[in-house]
């Protein structure tokens, strides 16, 4: 059965986050031949609409308003609900990002619908759309179906392959205006703590440090390696608790769960809670002085050694490789 599926494109720093394209691919599966409609909310988003179409959306609806310049759940839910009312969709997809996690349950509740969060794969089987998602911090997985009403899902970044970009695709971009009011939260200040560049949950390469990093300065060689690889820096809880870095870097059961293509664990012992945050990485490299460290049990490749010797050498070798292959 064909379905009309809305996809919320997520804008950050005037750019579409990759997960928006991944969400379109997910929506295509859910639509089963039906229409995939991109939705963009923000102050000035019209120029981004075509990108959604190039990656598979059939058309795009935008809501532009200065009250949407920054995300607040009240403003965005009013704007999104107006689009829902106009479009009457059978399905909705958001990225499972901070915005998606905040907004999706609110919308699901307004629509009296179910919601399958943090989906890592979508398929069809026996006439049902099957959503696969991790549970117990990725120690297990479940397959879910929607038994009543709207098919509403959020997709984990970096797990669903976007459709191939086709710049020849075109589609209608329409806009609706919404009277946004009665905002109950006022954002007074935003403090950017994450450095420019790659977001941990979307990073394809992560270089992570544990207690073995020994100090805040100890993260410098890891940052250099990450920079050469175009990746992000993460940390174990141990490193964060020891104040070698901010909690925003923490990967683990009570931190961020990541699924990069390459995870390089430096001076991380590999406690079960940390593994829960990264064990579904495609390739895991472990660097640790202790040959008995638990991390070696999940690593695809391991080097027993001092990370302060190994990491800078790795950085040099990767620089050489990049020079050769570019």
């Amino acid at each position: 059965m064909t379905r009309k599926v809305l996809v919320l494109g997520e804008v950050r720093d005037q750019q579409l986050r990759n997960v928006s394209y991944e969400a379109i691919a997910a929506a295509k599966t859910m639509a089963e031949g039906g229409e995939v409609v991109g939705v963009l909310l923000g102050e000035q988003v019209k120029d981004l609409a075509n990108s959604l179409i190039h990656y598979g959306a059939d058309r795009v609806v935008i809501v532009e308003d200065e009250k949407l310049a920054q995300y607040t759940s009240d403003a965005y839910s009013q704007a999104f609900m107006a689009v829902v009312e106009a479009e009457n969709p059978d399905g909705i997809v958001f990225g499972h990002t901070a915005l998606g996690k905040d907004l999706s349950p609110k919308i699901a509740s307004k629509l009296n619908s179910g919601l399958v969060s943090d989906v890592t794969a979508i398929g069809n089987e026996d006439g049902n759309i099957i959503f696969t998602r991790p549970i117990y911090s990725g120690k297990a997985f479940e397959k879910k179906i929607v038994t009543d009403g709207l098919l509403f899902a959020t997709v984990r970044p970096n797990n669903i392959t976007p459709l191939e970009k086709d710049e020849n695709r075109s589609g209608e971009v329409s806009s609706i205006s919404v009277d946004i009011k009665d905002l109950r939260s006022i954002i007074k200040e935003v403090v950017r703590k994450t450095s420019e560049g790659v977001d941990l949950t979307e990073a394809k390469v992560i270089v992570a440090g544990g207690r073995g990093v020994k100090s805040a300065e100890g993260f410098k060689p890891l940052q250099e390696l990450a920079d050469v690889l175009g990746g992000a820096v993460g940390a174990s809880r141990g490193a964060c608790d020891a104040e070698y870095c901010d909690y925003s870097l923490q990967i683990g059961q009570t931190g961020k769960v990541v699924t990069p293509d390459l995870y390089i664990a430096c001076g991380i012992s590999g406690a079960i809670q940390h593994l829960a945050g990264m064990s579904n990485s495609k390739v895991i490299v472990a660097i640790n002085k202790d040959p008995e460290a638990n991390i070696f049990k999940v690593a695809d490749y391991g080097i027993v050694g001092d990370l302060f010797e190994v990491v800078p050498m790795l950085t040099e070798e990767f620089k050489k490789l990049k020079a050769q292959t570019s």
């Binding site: 998602r133 038994t147 939260s185 954002i187 200040e189 935003v190 870097l249 080097i303």
Partner: protein
């Protein structure tokens, strides 16, 4: 102030997950309060100590959940409520849980509701925001700081590493992120006092709800474990050579660089 905390009983973080008959095996497993809910309980207690009022911890579960409620009482909560759905519900999802919790809360004149931002078992983070929506109150998720000053509330929230400072007011539902506080361990006197604190047990009937009202909208049709990883390669030899070999392996064999 009428302060409520939503609590979930979850597996201990150390637990290895195994399946029996296609379901998560609970035999011999240790259970705890969802770690993120602990931040919520701690914050609730601190708010009460500063502004006065009462902290009530609620959970939707079965009689085993009593243990976790007693732990919350031992930490310093004043009352606990168990909504025991064991006999009434076969299945439930986040829609179900949120509906039940909000039915309980809707006539309670809530000032502040706190919850963990996500449960480490389900991992969806839906229930808090759903409950806020059903109660018609404002919701701020993933908070790392909470200050109530008169009729204004100042909240700091974590947004994928960035910090947002928000001004809002009560009534309010917040979901706790790591870094909000350091949850206290229940003290021995706290544990003794907890035994005498009120722990009410309710069923769906008591909330004027029946199974149909809270029927889930989603269903789990299969649970599986990730494929066992093959043993990895521990490199050998001179450190410099190992590094060179690793780079080649990542480029040529694993093809990730």
């Amino acid at each position: 102030m009428n302060i409520y905390v939503l609590l979930k009983r979850t597996f201990d973080t150390e637990e290895k997950i195994t399946l029996s008959n296609g379901k998560i095996n609970e035999d011999g497993a240790e259970f705890i309060i969802n770690p993120y809910d602990e931040y919520a309980i701690e914050e609730a207690i601190q708010v009460r100590d500063e502004h006065g009022g009462e902290v009530t911890v609620i959970t939707v579960g079965n009689e085993d959940s009593e243990k976790q409620l007693r732990t919350a009482l031992a930490m310093g909560a004043d009352k606990a409520v168990l909504i025991n759905v064991e006999d009434d519900l076969e299945d439930g999802d986040q829609y179900t849980t949120a509906k039940i919790l909000s039915e309980y809360l809707k006539d309670k004149e809530v000032d502040l509701v706190l919850a963990g931002n996500v449960a480490i078992d389900g991992g969806s983070g839906q229930v808090g925001p759903r409950v806020a929506e059903l109660l018609g109150i404002n919701c701020v998720t993933t908070i790392t700081e909470l200050k109530i000053e008169g009729d204004k509330v100042y909240v700091t929230r974590d947004v994928e590493g960035d910090e947002e400072k928000i001004e809002t007011s009560l009534p309010l539902l917040v979901t706790a992120q790591q870094g909000l506080n350091e949850p206290r361990y229940p003290s021995l006197p706290g544990i003794m006092k907890a035994k005498k604190k009120p722990l009410d047990e309710l069923e769906l009937d008591d909330l004027d709800l029946d199974e149909d009202d809270v029927e889930p909208k989603t269903k789990t049709i299969e649970v599986f474990l990730p494929p066992q990883k093959e043993a990895g390669k521990i490199l050998e030899g001179d450190l410099a050579d190992q590094v060179k070999e690793l780079v080649q392996l990542l480029h040529k064999e694993a093809k990730v660089i």
